[in-house]
């Protein structure tokens, strides 16, 4: 190991863990001793990571309120940053909270939604089609029509009313109470043009959306809906869902 490499590793250890012995290589002088000088980097490291996390996890900020810094510090201590862009530092926070805060599972649910919104924000741009593209589909082609959905759409399963917290944070309105749901719900997160959206998926919508993502044809999607609504109402419901998805920018193309 080179002298430079040894110095950098030693200094980094001292920044990540203040209990590391002070560096003999750092000069002390009349202005400040080596410990005081090093402490600036130690404090700076934590502050920068905390600030970066707060930018991405605004629902969690709303939910955790005064306990937020302690939560983030636990994560910072357990997870040194490994990506050159600090914007990606929070990628493991939801899993960390799921593991370490089993007493408050709403925190992991919240972090999961925040991170999905964060990653959708600067995901790759994709085109989307509107109602007019459907007009060119001949009637005979509908049964085999396949929907090409946006790659950036994400579906999360949550057990708490985390969407209400995120909405309160986005709109700067009053913080709601934490509520455990009677049964888990699925939240769809996606970006249309430059705006990130999230909403709860309806019970019959999720299996149809999942099938559409797998490339199932329109006829199969309608068959799924028939299980919920009966044959007579399946096609109208599918048309309604399709209109909703098109308006939301979820569909980037059609294939047959």
């Amino acid at each position: 190991m080179s002298t430079l490499q040894a110095m950098q590793q030693h200094m980094q250890r001292a920044i990540l863990d203040a209990r590391t012995a002070a560096l003999p290589d750092i000069r002390s002088d009349d202005v400040a001793n080596a410990g005081s000088r090093l402490a600036i980097y130690q404090r700076g490291y934590r502050i920068r990571l905390r600030d970066a996390l707060k930018k991405e996890f605004i629902g969690l900020q709303c939910m955790a309120a005064t306990r937020l810094d302690a939560l983030l510090d636990d994560y910072i201590d357990a997870h040194p940053s490994e990506h050159y862009n600090i914007r990606w530092y929070g990628g493991a926070l939801a899993a960390h909270l799921r593991e370490t805060r089993r007493d408050k599972p709403q925190l992991a649910d919240m972090a999961q939604l925040d991170w999905a919104i964060s990653t959708a924000f600067d995901a790759a741009d994709e085109p989307s089609i509107g109602q007019s593209e459907l007009a060119s589909v001949p009637p005979a082609a509908w049964a085999n029509l396949r929907l090409d959905l946006q790659a950036n759409l994400q579906v999360l399963i949550v057990s708490h009313n985390v969407d209400a917290f995120r909405r309160a944070a986005d709109r700067a309105t009053a913080r709601p109470g934490v509520r455990r749901l009677a049964k888990p719900r699925r939240i769809l997160v996606w970006r249309h043009a430059t705006t990130v959206h999230y909403r709860v998926l309806e019970n019959d919508e999720w299996p149809v959306l999942a099938s559409a993502r797998r490339g199932e044809p329109f006829a199969a999607l309608c068959a799924l809906l028939a299980e919920y609504h009966g044959d007579a109402h399946a096609v109208p419901r599918m048309v309604s869902l399709l209109q909703t998805w098109l308006a939301a920018g979820l569909v980037r193309g059609l294939a047959s």
Partner: protein
């Protein structure tokens, strides 16, 4: 302060003989660091700012709003790219993934130039997200020079390296910071982004002369100036970029203009954002300080 380093003499001789700046890059005038907080206001008052510096990492993303804004600004302003994560002094291998994305962004932006910092930001795969100073040794010099050359090969352009503010210095250093920076620039054939505030902060924190620093850099290598504000801590000055440029830094800026001549200059503000008008007033102040000196020199 010389300690027998092999190329110091040649560096100083070169700087003394070179009276004009590299003519390979343009002079851009007076600019600002582009920050989200001023997006709308900047587009409303484009005429008062001659160019913008973007933080490279903010736009090294796959898509979405950041790139939409970037394209809007690119249509209206000359841009330069300024990175914080190259980690040119780290003993970890250069991050080829980072360089590939940086290179792709540079192709999209076509900036007047690309810069980063003379520092390391982490080792052993860890990122400290800070601009860590190097020991100014022969070993570090060889290491940095080699890496700058390799980065410049990847980017197919000369880069600018910025002096960082620092709070520690190392017992094993054999060179002053400015000797080290000058040597890197000469040996790697790169350019210098001189942060006037950082010179002042480090001079106060380590007890060296900021004027010696300016005198020690080769005129021909200094392509850009940064101006920023700092916070006076209990013992040390902290480079916070959250306050107006201090009087001491304005004074040093005047000295820098006297020494380096016409250099593209910008205000860097990263926190405690004032209305854009306050930054524009600071930029105007820079103009009023520099232009009479430059006219007289001409």
């Amino acid at each position: 302060m010389h300690r027998g380093m092999r190329s110091i003499t040649s560096t100083l001789a070169t700087s003394a003989m070179t009276a004009t700046r590299s003519d390979t890059l343009p002079y851009l005038g007076y600019g600002l660091g582009l920050r989200v907080e001023h997006y709308e206001a900047l587009l409303a008052k484009p005429a008062q700012v001659q160019w913008l510096e973007v933080v490279s990492e903010n736009y090294m993303v796959d898509g979405g709003l950041p790139l939409v804004w970037l394209d809007r600004f690119r249509e209206r302003f000359p841009l330069v790219m300024h990175g914080v994560s190259m980690s040119i002094g780290s003993t970890d291998p250069l991050d080829s993934g980072y360089l590939a994305r940086l290179s792709a962004l540079a192709k999209r932006v076509e900036p007047a130039w690309v810069s980063d910092h003379l520092c390391w930001t982490g080792v052993a795969g860890v990122q400290l997200h800070d601009l860590m100073p190097l020991p100014y040794t022969e070993e570090a010099l060889d290491h940095v020079v080699d890496r700058v050359k390799r980065v410049q090969d990847v980017l197919q352009r000369r880069i600018l390296l910025e002096n960082v503010s620092s709070y520690v210095s190392f017992a094993q250093s054999q060179l002053t910071e400015w000797e080290f920076l000058a040597e890197v620039a000469e040996r790697a054939d790169c350019l210098i982004l001189l942060d006037i505030n950082n010179v002042h902060v480090s001079a106060m924190n380590h007890g060296f002369s900021s004027l010696d620093y300016l005198r020690g850099l080769p005129v021909s290598r200094v392509q850009q100036f940064h101006l920023a504000g700092y916070e006076q801590g209990e013992q040390l000055i902290i480079d916070t970029h959250d306050a107006p440029v201090s009087n001491a830094v304005w004074d040093l800026y005047v000295e820098a203009v006297r020494r380096f001549g016409r250099v593209s200059t910008m205000i860097e503000r990263d926190d405690n954002f004032p209305p854009l008008s306050e930054l524009l007033a600071e930029l105007e102040h820079a103009r009023k300080l520099a232009e009479p000196l430059l006219r007289n020199a001409a």
